[in-house]
Amino acid sequence: MAGIELLSDQGFRADGRRPHELRKIRCRMGVFRQADGSAYIEQGNTKVLATVYGPHEITGGRSKALHDKVLLNCQYSMATFSTGERKTRPKGDRRSQEMSMNLRRTFQAAILTHLYPRSQIDIYVQVLQSDGGNYCACVNAATLAVIDAGIPMRDYVCACTSSLLEDTPVVDISYLEESVGSPEMVVALLPKSEQIVLFQQNSRLHVDNLEKVLDMGIKGCTDVYGILDQSVREHVTEVSNLMMST
């Protein structure tokens, strides 16, 4: 792809960030009253809405119920207006199904599932605008929504992408950087214990570079954690202030 310089000699990426810098993250919790928990997150131009229902009774047939832990139901979808060209199928395509499955696995590792046997938790995430790192934004949004719903978790789940441009590891890649075919690595992390709950690698990466890209991804995740944690604290103080005043 001629004409675009992904990493300049001065160490700037195409959008003016340096390799280790995240995109701007803004988030809000409790955006909907109807759901048990909800959150909205913006990572750069990627915008995601997450809602959580539950824990509640199993819907649609008791046979699905698990006797020792909660049933986790996740659904990932992309709004038809989320990409440059209108999407014809907002959910249920192969990619969305894969994303849903990944999301379920991620949160099964993080939520204390044994507390709610024979019940169900639903996590719905919807991508409103897509600009790279969709999955990570979804994970981060879902974390906030789960916290908002008051479901106990082992830790926050923070996700971040990283990649390798011209032998330099970069963090939180945008759609532009994604689309040139650089190796994209997705890491979801439990920051306190530094346990990796999801690790995904798209396209080939030389094993020599794996470590530094992974380190970059982990660093990105811990940075994301800082931001999420701060916003949760702000939200909680805000809510408690409101309750005090009423």
Binding site: A2, G3, Q10, E21, G44
Partner: protein
């Protein structure tokens, strides 16, 4: 950081416009990269503008695109390239100028930098709705310039160069000290003395203004397809990507496209593609990377197999085409990358032609290289430069123009002068030689008689001291100044033998990224021309401090092996050492010593010693040399038995043409000592290669020799078959074995010729970075080693310096962070390979030049040295290719293909061809000896070429009996071109020749017979040079 958004409209792969929103972050910490900065911008190392500049130049987008050449001049420094400008250069499709800017910025001598204005919070200005791209770019550049001026608190004035008069009028008075000038005004105000720049400016602007005039006449060229379609087509396999190679002998008719991506994988299907004719070539110039579409099979043609003479572009109309043997034929449908360089050209000698064109200010110039089409340039100096060689550059080749448009850059001098011709050779091979700069000399230690350089005791403490423990000596060609390798060998108390190779420690003096290092990197190799050489390192290093001169303490990099009595390697040690070479010998003396002759006169170090001491010393030395030789013999046989092959004859030929290795300079019937030294060096290189690949599996610099392509062996197989031999080319071992069998007792030259042909089939050895090739491609075909590198000549080759650094890092003596990554190293390797090839070509061209000078003086009709024996080794439909055994000593680099041309009709059968004229007919067979005469065809626009004409179809060294045959052949003089003398004269002369043969032969032998090394070829060619000079005056 502040986040904003950029809204773009981008065309997608289906051709629809899509609205794209990209983030754009503005930040405060963008470094200004100036040393004058008061705000404490974080600087990133070497890339800074110098404070001594009186002003900084800020060129705008248009100026940078059009006049980059002027900005590239070394005199003009302190240029600030803005990111906006850089993007505009990149987006308008000119990746080369973009890379040039990047190169300039990396080179500290140019003192220019890039400022990322679009990311800077204060210097960025958003594009207003409805604002044209051009206006926005101009405004951005101006805003950035103003910000920069304020940022530096007005310490320097800023000159913004733009060609937009409207903008100048509008903004000129807005900010004091930020001046808006056009390029012309700028050059006139600031550089009134730099006439060079003004010249370039004028020719550039002339060619620019001209290109805006549209013409309607179509010359039949087709427009190129758009890039997206090309790249999609290449991916799907519909089009083929490759590099254009124009046939030198038939530049108008024939060109080949060599498919990209190396051919070893599927050698069956990817032969070269013929591009026949200028229309099919569609404005591609030699060296361009193009996309080709194959024509239907019915339109495929074969190679042109007849010989023609090309003089000043005139071609024979009838060219025979090998219609039985068609090759894939295609046409160029798009250019992926132009590879235009500087071309040497001259004005047409035709006066009439000149008169017509100069009115319009446009002249056609004829490039020196036959393969390049004529170039149309605009200049008013065509009268004064009529007999000069000039450098021109191609700017564009519009679809409606028969010839490309270019501009004049510089004159080299008048045609025919030696200096002009030499600099033409250098320019044609893109070798630019500046003298070493003052800053560079200052970096280096000095060594004079009143302030002698001594080794540093602290440094000695860090190194292994071998000065007293080892007998170290060097064996080099006579008169060699830059001794970079020495040897030592000694018996250890435990019965083992210790072999040491000690190489000059250049990397100690040349620190990474120092000026010397940068200069050496850009030169990459020492360039040897026939009469001079251009060193890679300044003389203080190459001839003095790094050179391992006898009797002086020097730093070295050593490899010491402990060998068992059977010469198996038990242990190896690498490290830095201090050595003192005891003897500096030359090859002949060492060999004589080994043969038991008295050589004390040849070893100056022995002078003034007692007889007994001398005897003792000689015995020591003799022991060392004998041991070395037997080690070398063993190493060689081990290489052979380990599947390795003795391709010596071949290897030498290959390597001779690039003349870089000592071992490679050794001709086939060399003294054994040559081989011994070569073998030791190969051994050292091999072991160093092993070590660095182990330590750095993904970024070590190695050298590999790829397998040859089987189709290149066709000529060899054909020639061998004519004599009833078969050659097996499947592996290197089989090839060498079957070549050994091909011996014709009656014709000793036969074997040599076959080896030469085999050599032509070989690919070149190349440097590479281990990370970029798979492990099985590391193999060195010629030497039959799995890993090989260059370690032993750091004074002459930059690759060796890199290898030294790698080795030091591998044994943990230097910190690793100075090493290059795989990508950078591969780039560097490509650069070195490129430079090496250029150096070889230049060397060959210079030798041809001197060869031509040598024969120019001689009248081919009277001078006996112009009549020589020749052997036929190739047949064409209207001539034969011959090889001249006698002059190959001079032509050392290669056995040039010489062409004999017949006027008459000629029929060709399998292994012979018959010439029929009105009076007689003669048949020529492959490997027949004939007599040929050498003459020089002078040329105005090109180099003078040596030409060969057939004199007689019998061997030249004939006795009187055969003279009658010669006489009979005189009847055939009408079939021979340019034979105008009458029969009697010829008889007289040929008798004379035969009489003189004896003395002449001896003289030649004494003159050339022993010239095994390049040094004495220099002295020989020096004579030619003098002859050339005399002729000039």
């Amino acid at each position: 950081m502040i986040k904003t958004e950029k809204h773009l409209r981008v065309r997608n792969y289906r051709g629809q416009t899509v609205r794209v929103v990209r983030e754009h972050y503005l930040r405060e910490d963008v470094p200004c990269n100036s040393e004058l900065c008061l705000a404490g911008c974080p600087s990133d190392g070497s890339r800074t503008l110098l404070p001594m500049a009186t002003h900084y130049i800020v060129p705008d987008c248009q100026v940078t695109r059009d006049y980059l050449e002027i900005l590239e001049l070394p005199e003009i420094t302190g240029i600030l390239f803005l990111q906006t400008v850089l993007h505009s250069v990149l987006h308008h499709g000119n990746r080369r100028s973009y890379n040039n800017i990047r190169k300039m910025v990396k080179d500290p001598r140019q003192q220019c930098t890039i400022f990322a204005n679009e990311y800077c919070h204060y210097a960025y200005c958003e594009r207003q709705p409805g604002e044209l791209l051009k206006e926005w770019q101009l405004r951005s550049v101006y805003e950035a310039a103003v910000w920069y001026y304020n940022h530096l608190a007005g310490q320097v004035s800023i000159v913004m160069i733009t060609e937009d008069q409207e903008f100048i009028a509008k903004f000129a008075a807005k900010t004091r000290q930020v001046f808006l000038l056009t390029m012309q005004e700028y050059l006139k105000t600031f550089w009134p003395t730099l006439s060079n720049a003004l010249d370039i400016y004028e020719s550039l602007s002339a060619s620019l203004s001209e290109s805006t005039v549209e013409k309607d006449t179509t010359k039949g060229y087709k427009e190129y397809l758009p890039q997206e379609i090309l790249s999609a087509g290449i991916k799907s396999g519909r089009y083929i990507q490759g590099c254009v190679h124009v046939n030198k002998h038939r530049p108008q008719r024939e060109a080949f496209v060599q498919r990209a991506g190396g051919g070893m994988k599927e050698s069956g299907t990817d032969s070269d593609i013929i591009i026949s004719g200028m229309l099919a070539r569609n404005r591609a110039v030699d060296g361009d990377i193009v996309a080709v579409e194959l024509l239907p099979k019915s339109q495929w043609v074969g190679k042109i197999i007849s010989l023609t003479e090309t003089h000043e572009g005139i071609e024979n109309t009838e060219a025979m085409i090998d219609s039985s043997n068609v090759m894939p034929t295609g046409r160029v449908i798009g250019i992926l990358q132009r590879n235009w360089r500087d071309y040497v050209a001259s004005f047409s000698a035709d006066k009439e032609n000149k008169g017509n064109t100069s009115k319009a200010g446009k002249v056609l110039v004829i490039p020196w290289d036959y393969r390049i089409p004529k170039i149309r340039i605009s200049t008013r100096q065509s009268d004064s430069l009529g007999d000069h060689r000039v450098i021109v550059r191609i700017d564009s080749w519009p679809v409606d123009s028969q010839y490309p448009n270019g501009h004049f850059v510089q004159t080299l001098g008048s045609i025919g002068k030696l200096e002009t011709e030499i600099s033409s050779i250098l320019v044609e091979n893109s070798i630019s030689i500046r003298s070493f700069s003052e800053g560079q000399i200052k970096e280096l230690p000095s060594n004079s008689s009143d302030d002698p350089w001594t080794i540093d005791p602290e440094e000695v403490a860090r190194r292994q001291d071998l000065r007293d423990s080892h007998l170290i000596f060097s064996i080099d060609p006579k008169g060699c100044e830059d001794v970079d390798d020495t040897l030592s060998v000694r018996q250890l108390p435990n019965g083992n033998i210790e072999l040491g190779v000690h190489i000059a420690d250049v990397s100690y003096f040349v620190k990474p990224n120092s000026l010397t290092d940068l200069e050496a990197k850009s030169r990459a190799t020492t360039v040897y021309l026939a009469d001079r050489r251009y060193d890679m390192l300044p003389p203080i290093l190459s001839a003095d401090l790094c050179s391992l001169i006898g009797g002086e303490d020097r730093y070295a990099m050593s490899v010491l092996w402990q060998l068992s009595p059977n010469y198996d390697v038990i242990d190896v040690w690498y490290g830095r050492t201090v050595i003192r070479s005891a003897y500096k010998m030359f090859y002949e003396a060492a060999q004589a010593l080994h043969d038991g002759k008295d050589v004390r006169d040849d070893i100056p170090e022995l002078e003034g010693l007692d007889e007994e001491v001398i005897q003792e010393r000689l015995r020591e030395l003799n022991f060392s040399i004998s041991t070395l030789m037997s080690i070398a013999r063993h190493l060689k046989s081990k290489r052979e038995s380990g599947g390795a092959v003795q391709l010596e004859g071949l290897e030498i030929q290959v390597q001779l043409s690039d003349k870089k290795d000592i071992q490679d300079l050794v001709p086939k019937q060399a003294l054994e000592i040559h081989e011994t030294i070569a073998e030791c060096m190969i051994f050292a290189n091999h072991w160093v290669a092993k070590k660095i690949t182990e330590a750095f599996p993904s970024f070590a610099l190695l050298r590999h020799h790829p397998l040859p392509r089987q189709e290149h062996f066709e000529n060899l197989l054909y020639c061998a078959k004519s004599k009833g031999f078969s050659v097996d080319t499947s592996t290197n071992k089989n090839l060498a074995d079957s070549l050994d069998r091909c011996v014709d007792e009656k014709n000793p030259i036969f074997n040599k010729l076959l080896r030469t042909l085999a050599t032509y089939a070989m690919s070149n050895a190349l440097y590479f970075s281990t990370g970029s090739l798979s492990r099985d491609q590391f193999y060195h075909y010629g030497l039959a080693l799995d890993r090989y590198t260059h370690f032993t000549s750091p004074i002459r080759r930059y690759a060796d310096i890199i290898v030294h650094r790698l080795l030091m890092a591998a044994i943990k003596e230097d910190e690793e962070n100075l090493l290059l990554g795989n990508k950078e190293l591969q780039d560097l390797c490509d650069h070195i390979n490129h430079k090496n090839r250029a150096a070889q070509h230049a060397q060959r061209a210079s030798q041809e030049l001197f060869q031509a000078l040598y024969f120019k003086d001689r009248d081919p009709n009277t001078d006996e040295s112009c009549v020589v024996d020749a052997v036929i080794f190739g047949l064409r439909t209207n001539g034969v290719l011959v090889f001249i055994p006698r002059y190959r000593v001079i032509l050392n680099t290669e056995f040039t293909l010489h062409v004999v041309i017949f006027k008459s009709t000629l029929t060709k059968s399998d292994y012979s061809c018959t010439v029929t004229t009105a009076t007689s007919s003669t048949t020529f067979h492959l490997f027949d000896h004939i007599t040929a005469r050498i003459s020089v065809a002078a040329s105005h626009a090109h180099t003078s070429m040596t030409r060969f004409d057939l004199v007689a179809s019998v061997p030249y060294c004939s006795n009187h009996k055969e003279e009658n045959a010669t006489q009979r052949l005189h009847e055939k003089t009408d079939i021979v071109q340019e034979v105008t003398r009458d029969v009697k004269q010829e008889v007289a002369i040929s008798t004379e020749i035969n009489d003189e043969l004896g003395s002449d032969f001896n003289e030649l032998k004494s003159k050339y017979g022993q010239t095994k090394d390049h040094c004495s070829i220099y002295s020989l060619l020096q004579q030619f040079k003098e002859m050339g000079l005399e002729e000039e005056s």
